[in-house]
Symmetry: C2
Subunit: 340 residues, 2 copies
DNA sequence: GTTAGCACTCTCCTTTAAGGAGTGCTAACC
DNA sequence: GGTTAGCACTCCTTAAAGGAGAGTGCTAAC
């Protein structure tokens, strides 16, 4: 059977109505609300066809119909109007995120906040695995007699730091020479290369000369592995309760647990990948706990390299058009901010 | 009327039972479960007295009784046994938090995680206003032709960074001299002093010499104000659903909103203050939305200065003894780790 | 002062019934 | 042949009613 124009119109009506009301929708309602020029009986026949084709579902006989995942997919791919973010909301984002590049952590928090506030869904911010970024600079700063701060800057401007305890008092000269040698030796390396380098003979000789390099480098490595480890930050969890889908406590709990556990969520997001905005609907994510959710993510790239993703999670009955617009704008803004 | 020993025993029984079951408890249950050597009728009389004194409440006639806030207060202050954290849990904490001092952000996340996992309540980690900490070191690192990273280290080892765009290409010598001058000039200052200094004539002369200092310092200030701003990080929100108190969606939602909004929560925590572990019960916090919650917080201090607080939020029916033990241990551990 | 007994109260759960929304089918219409 | 009105049927939802159960307060006896 073919999905002709009239069927498409009816489907669109069902989806639009269900997204805004969360109520199964019947033929009579469509006939009344959306003037399609056909009677409820005709609509009934068409809806029956659409159900047969897998676009609509009935919670039970004698309830109205509800869009299936397949319908949402069709909607997202073909029916949805791409819209621009209203000027007002653009301004809010620019104001909140500011124009300066601060610490990653601060950007993450602000982004998650504004994203959940604008969309009214739960927001996610993922900072990606930066395993292939290069060391631009290492700098050691003395804190007190037996503590140093090691500050590591990567080539894409991410700064990480870690405190290192030293065996005995370190002189200013030693520190300076250490900084110089470390930069000479390790600057420009990726984490893998660094790892490799440490195992080499060459490094062992160096470690001998700078007796403290011995314990220093493993510590640095740990610091860098933090750079490498990807993590997800969530905000606007309470937004879940805006949706009757989560008026069932156990549903709300299990979704929140998935989000807080992070492991499974990261798995899903890694699998999704892709440039630009990606919409994942329900079982497409291949995870039992996510089967009633949709996840929309967008990537933030700097110099062709993905440095993070932002996303929104909510019921499959999601205002995809609005969410996509917000994500598109914010990811573009962040990319612009960091790449400039 | 006096709260004699027998009344105390009965009260303790009611509290203990209610904390573990969340069910109003009747006289017969107490007589059976807690062998106090008196009959249910006697207990009934005593409970009637305790109600009159404001320690017990009845959800409705012919329900059992429930401890009042006043009862919890009495329990926390006088009845509760201070217990040590089990060896096993201590080990978990030490293992999870590690022995190294990383970035504040990483410590915050880890702490919040372990705290919510161990207590099974929602955990909070607050990093305090560090308005009075001093600049130890400022360092500028070139990222590319028109961007610098400014790394700021405070005297207590907190590292913040911010990216600064420069008007035109900066030479290595300029950078070095800038670093030297900035350290000479601003090292050792608090944020207020820095603010004050910038307004002075002296600074204006300096800015003239380093033409870029002009836009630089305001940017640095902003970076430092991030250091100064206190913030709260929460984890284990889904734990709220462990408690029948929050099986009512609207209750759960409003508490989660308070936690996510942060403003009101920070207000409450600031008002609480105090060294060591502090228990705040329901209306003691003077906030409508918190009237059915308890909040237990502990301070983490370094060199006599509070650098943050950790806490746990849950229903007034809270396992105070266990929560206090966990908080005491973790706050002690963090303090030790940072102070060493 | 303590205890047993008992009537009374109030909630909670289950059952039952009515109401309502929406469908599918049939037959008539254009 | 597609479209529409009519109608019986299904199934959910909500409200009301009727125990069952738990716990109290009071009284009287110990």
């Amino acid at each position: 059977m073919l999905v002709d124009d009239r069927k498409l119109k009816i489907l669109q009506a069902v989806i639009a109505d269900y997204i805004s009301t969360a109520q199964p929708i019947g033929s009579r309602t469509i006939a009344k609300k959306y003037k399609l020029g056909i009677s409820s009986a005709t609509i009934r026949n068409e809806m029956s066809d659409l159900e047969e084709m897998g676009y609509l579902e009935q919670p039970h006989t004698s309830a109205g119909r509800v869009p299936s995942e397949r319908a949402y997919r069709l909607y997202v791919d073909r029916l949805m109007q791409i819209r621009n973010l209203p000027r007002k909301e653009q301004e809010i984002i620019i104001r909140e995120l500011g124009e300066r590049m601060d610490e990653i952590e601060s950007i993450i928090r602000k982004t998650a906040r504004i994203l959940s506030q604008l969309t009214r869904y739960t927001s996610l911010v993922i900072n990606s695995n930066l395993i292939d970024c290069r060391l631009r600079h290492i700098h050691f700063i003395q804190l007190d007699s037996n503590r140093l701060v090691a500050v590591i800057v990567t080539d894409n401007g991410i700064v990480k730091n870690t405190i290192i305890k030293t065996a005995d008092t370190v002189t200013a000269e030693y520190l300076e020479s250490l900084t110089r040698v470390a930069n000479d030796k390790f600057g420009g390396m990726t984490i893998e290369e660094l790892n490799h380098c440490i195992a080499s003979e060459d490094y062992k000789k160096l470690a001998y000369r700078y007796s403290q390099l011995d314990s220093l480098i493993p510590m640095l490595m740990e610091g860098l592995s933090i750079v490498g480890g990807d993590d997800v930050y969530a905000d606007g969890m309470s937004n879940l309760f805006n949706f009757p889908e989560y008026s069932d406590i156990s549903k709300a709990k299990s979704l929140m647990e998935i989000i807080e556990e992070k492991e499974q969520l990261m798995d899903i997001i890694r699998r999704i990948g892709g440039k630009g905005v990606v919409v994942s609907i329900g079982s497409e994510m291949d995870n039992v706990y996510m089967k009633d959710c949709s996840l929309v993510t967008a990537s933030c790239r700097v110099g062709g390299r993905e440095i993070g993703r932002i996303g929104v999670i909510g019921p499959t009955r999601m205002e995809y058009d609005r969410v996509v617009a917000v994500l598109e704008f914010i990811s573009g803004y962040i990319t612009g901010m960091m790449d400039k």
